[in-house]
Subunit: 686 residues, 2 copies
């Protein structure tokens, strides 16, 4: 990666101040680079406070503590599922927004879990020892068992309050045990209207200038009382100036910067292409479904939001990989590393074959992938019911085994989160489930072929639509009490159940486990083992001044507030609240909500609303705090520009920009538009 950094810095010399590349772990912060690039580096105390002030929303977002009373700031789109779930046909809180004027009005987000990182411990030696000399299934089994053992020991008897994960950093170059404080009682405090949070909708998504109040506040409770928090970020009402250094502490989900060329080629030629096509078709389906009535529109809203966002992201990643220049750079990087390995006899003996082994595993991946994604990953049975049935069926079988022998998702350390998801009271809409499942079953037949035995077994004489209707109409899994009964009843309850989804999940389970086992043996274990070797070779060549691919764990990114050049023009780094009114047409997605229109005279039009920075962030960073050098919150990350989508594979300092809600805009809105006096007061307390 140093090679990249150097190349980027050279480019930057001409077009910007420095390179802001990197998503750095908190136990290896790039202090020297920061000092060099932004003339400042954090102290251990700064880092410590930032770590405990930052938070993760377990299903895929970032967040931060912003008051001593347990208020947590994140994006609206990170709580949209919750807002939808506490809505009804009569009371559409997604459209109308939500504000709890006092704690008693705060509403529980059933499926939401907040994690706060407390400790990182290096367990590389333990993992290396556990898998020494092993291959394939044995390697994977031993690694899973070691991870389960370490995580279980870390959690101890604190399952409901503590979460521990063994994280593969540098694709296995290092293993670290991450220990979190786990919060499962999370309540919604404030969410603006969807129209304000997603102003500009899909057309403006991944674009800038931008005018979104994509913020929400939840509160973490402990033993039914607001959590008392020592480390939180004070919101700075002035925000940051253009050119000012800024730091993001958040949880980037996944990057592919360390992949081999063979892996990137499979992504480009097959996986991303299939993903993009699947998302495009599903998007069309949801778009037309939404038009069929107010209730379908409400049911499909957050799914459509997710799908449009994912489609744009996957499409952007695909286009990045299809750029011959980017691919050539990847090939050059790999060739340089392979030359280095070939020139060092000991390294060559262990590692020279790693790239070819991974290339062979990609062939297996390409072959196994349709069945693996449709059957084991559930793509052919899309919807909540099958997902729940699979959890119940496997949960019964797996929990009967010793912890270390289970599938990793059923390790004791993972069960609390799984149980929370399983028992969630979030409503499941049968009509919408039928649509999703019917679509998925059609894809199952389309991708595997009508003559595939599995397809004949599942569909028998029914159409996908008929089968979906029969399953959804016949199931009782929509009722959390029934799920609890089956979960607690274990294998006997599962065996006795005549629920059609339980029967379906049982009927395909052996085949699903078989393709998973083969995928793990022929693809994952091979890649894991060999990419570790490559990672170690890269360490040998470049030293430790590199950062690992994103893993949805806490990372630090530094940068500055800065626009960029687009088609010869300069995009300024800030937008203002007045701009939202100028851009509004009155028609979605450019319709401001009534609250904004009503309060327009009181809003200072020059108040900054959104801004862009050079921070290197990706999906999963949504909701991350943007901090100044004083550790104050000056913004809330919610997006990247269109060029940032290539960030999955590399960072381009000239054009890759992160997009944030400005602290001043958030406070102005809470004050002037929503009259959230108590919240503003709480946020202002030191």
């Amino acid at each position: 990666m140093k090679h990249h950094l150097a190349a980027a810095a050279a480019l930057c010399a001409a077009t910007c101040a420095f390179s802001a590349e990197g998503m750095w772990t908190f136990d290896n912060p790039p202090l020297k680079a920061m000092q060099h690039d932004i003339g400042w580096a954090p102290t251990p105390a700064w880092l410590d406070k930032a770590m405990r002030g930052s938070a993760r929303i377990a299903d895929g977002c970032s967040a931060s503590f912003v008051s001593k009373g347990g208020l947590v700031l994140t994006n609206h789109h990170c709580v949209a599922d919750c807002v939808e779930q506490i809505s009804s046909a009569e009371q559409d809180r997604l459209q109308a927004g939500f504000l709890a004027r006092r704690p008693a009005d705060e509403l529980r987000c059933e499926a939401m879990e907040v994690n706060r990182l407390e400790q990182i411990v290096d367990v590389t030696a333990e993992l290396s020892q556990a898998t020494a000399g092993l291959e394939g299934t044995a390697y994977k089994t031993a690694q899973n068992a070691a991870k389960a053992r370490l995580a279980a020991a870390c959690v101890g008897s604190e399952g409901s309050k503590r979460r521990c994960d063994v994280v593969d950093l540098y694709r296995g170059g290092q293993y670290k045990l991450y220990r979190y404080r786990r919060f499962q009682d999370v309540r919604l405090v404030f969410a603006p209207e969807l129209a304000a949070a997603t102003f500009g909708g899909d057309p403006d998504n991944f674009n800038f200038p931008r005018y979104d109040l994509d913020m929400a506040l939840v509160r973490v409770y402990d033993e039914d009382r607001p959590l008392a928090v020592a480390d939180y970020f004070h919101i700075n009402p002035q925000g940051a100036a253009a050119g000012e250094p800024v730091i993001v502490t958040g949880h980037p989900g996944e990057t592919q910067r360390e992949l081999t060329v063979a892996q990137l080629a499979l992504l480009r030629d097959r996986l991303l292409l299939d993903d993009a096509l699947g998302l495009a078709e599903y998007r069309g389906l949801l778009t037309a479904y939404r038009e069929t009535g107010a209730e379908p529109a409400r049911m499909a809203a957050s799914e459509l939001f997710f799908v449009e966002n994912a489609y744009k992201a996957v499409h952007g990643e695909l286009k990045a990989l299809m750029d011959p220049a980017l691919f050539q750079r990847k090939q050059d990087d790999e060739a340089a590393l392979r030359r280095y390995v070939a020139g060092a006899p000991a390294l060559a003996a262990s590692t020279a074959g790693a790239w070819d082994a991974i290339a062979r595993a990609q062939k297996a991946h390409g072959m196994l992938y349709p069945l693996h994604s449709l059957l084991e990953q559930g793509g052919g049975f899309r919807g909540d019911h099958f997902r729940l049935a699979r959890m119940l069926v496997r949960g019964a079988a797996e929990r009967a085994k010793p912890n270390a022998e289970r599938l990793p998702e059923f390790h004791d350390s993972a069960l609390p989160e799984m149980e929370a998801r399983l028992m969630s009271a979030a409503p499941i809409y049968p009509a919408f489930q039928k649509l999703k499942l019917g679509f998925a079953l059609t894809k199952l037949r389309e991708k595997l072929g009508a003559d595939e035995p599995l397809v004949r077994q599942v569909l028998a004489k029914q159409t996908p639509t008929e089968l979906a209707a029969r399953l959804v109409e016949g199931t009782r899994l929509g009722d959390p009490a029934e799920r609890r009964r089956l979960w607690e009843g274990g294998a006997a309850a599962i065996a006795a159940s005549d629920d059609p989804f339980i029967r379906l999940a049982l009927a395909v389970d052996a085949q699903a486990r078989a393709v998973r086992a083969r995928f793990e043996r022929e693809v994952e274990a091979v890649v894991q083992k060999n990419i570790e070797l490559i990672a170690r070779a890269r360490f040998a060549m470049l030293g430790d001044s590199t950062y690992p691919d994103a893993t949805f764990t806490l990372r630090l990114s530094y940068g500055v507030v800065q626009g960029w050049e687009e088609r010869g023009g300069q995009i300024p780094p800030f937008t203002q609240m007045g701009g939202a009114f100028e851009r509004a047409t009155g028609a979605p997605p450019y319709a401001l909500p009534p609250s904004w229109l009503k309060r327009q005279p009181e809003i200072r039009p020059t108040t900054p609303l959104n801004l862009v920075t050079t921070n290197d962030i990706v999906g999963g960073n949504s909701g991350s705090p943007l901090l100044n050098r004083q550790g104050e919150l000056v913004g809330l990350m919610f997006d990247g520009n269109i060029h940032s989508l290539g960030g999955a594979y590399s960072y381009d300092p000239a054009t890759n920009r992160a997009v944030a809600v400005h602290s001043a805009g958030m406070l102005e809105a809470l004050n002037k538009i929503y009259g959230a006096d108590a919240l503003v007061k709480e946020l202002g307390e030191r």
Copy 2:
């Protein structure tokens, strides 16, 4: 192309008898190759009869005359639009099928035109002379004018009965004037139920084994009486045996086998990818729309059929181009030709720069393409109303000019077909038009960006859905009489019209013409001029034993009845009618219609139903006759297997197969299932 032929023949020696590559023009039949490959070659008389027995359906299919009373055989999917148009909510002829037991019951297909090729004349010299020394717009204008002049002289005063087109063969290596007899009174005689014609639906499309009765019969009328036909194909009730030589005479629409590597790269990295994504999303939209009721299902049926077929085709083409081996072969071929050119000084002087010129034009293509496809090609205004409004607005302006100065689609020779389409009484469903237009306007905004002036001009303060509703509700263009009034009223009537679609078409016309002009100048003219040079260099290198890319003109393809090897197993070349009953589940798309189920006891189950052959065909060949050496019809082409989709770029004799309805199956169905005694008798007459 000889290089390819040679390579294919070498491969074939191991796996099959010969290479059947090539879509040959009737004035350059591959007699020697046929004699060598299948031990037989047609006589001039055979070719002459085959030419006049073959026919084209003007909007994109092939067909053939099969009785002296003007019966024309084609695919069901080639007449599905007509069947839909003569249907109503009360009488769904797409589902129920249609049989006219006597001529008086035959129903007019308003929008259908049949062409029969009568003569081919070489006009290369005229065209070369007209464009000598010209570049860019001047080149294009001179060429259009010369083509218009030649076509007009050929049509003379016979516009309603004669059609003449100047065809660019070998991408301009040759120009030929094709003269057709034009038939505009076409009436539906027989169409089976959609369930029988498309049994297996989208899952089985482009697959084999297959069980489709994808046939239909129409009758051509002249002066309100059935056309008397001298040259037609007798249907041979036995069909062809495995291994028997067979000939297809049809109208392959378009291939890209002569494109340069730069053109193929743009297709792969941009155009096909965008097409596939757009089709996938539109497919999802139509799928969900179809589920909203019986009437939407009926309105969307043929569009969904078209979209699913196109999606599979484009996806297959994209995957073919993403195959590194195919692309490498194209690069090698091009390198060989460039070396040949470089080694011949005179050729080098004229042609060495042609590839780079085309590569530069591809850059311009990539840049202009969004606006060109959305605005000039109408992709941003999808639906019938805008298409009609554009015809009317441009027709008024263009017809006021001298013939040779008009846009080519308004040349006198093209006006009869345009008028027929314009005045067609085919119904236009407002609800469905709103869906399509709303979708298209959303894409317009998405692809150009919300800040693009054109988007702001078109949408103003409305959402795409609102605008689509307002336009469709306000238009009178659904009425053929109103269209006739505007067409005949010319520029004055257009200027006076307040129809919202006319106003829209007028408002964007200058911008649309501007991007078209730029596209023609910077892309088309450059490619045309330079690919002609490359075509001539290829002639110099390879002689005339090559065939031109498909141009939706009559071609001959030879091959044999033969299956292929798939995943180690052998796919047999025939399916039988009994197989359809075995495959039927009772649920769409595997539900046989009641007529089949009722007559099952009488149907001989071993009757061949579908077959595969090695003929090299592509889209546009649908409905082509499959002939034996005696010039008898032994099958009706309706599809290719999944490997045939790469046929856009190259032909692989090992796996590329054409799919046909067997003559025996057609006759058995007409006899036993549909009791079409009079038709069977007419088809049997010599």
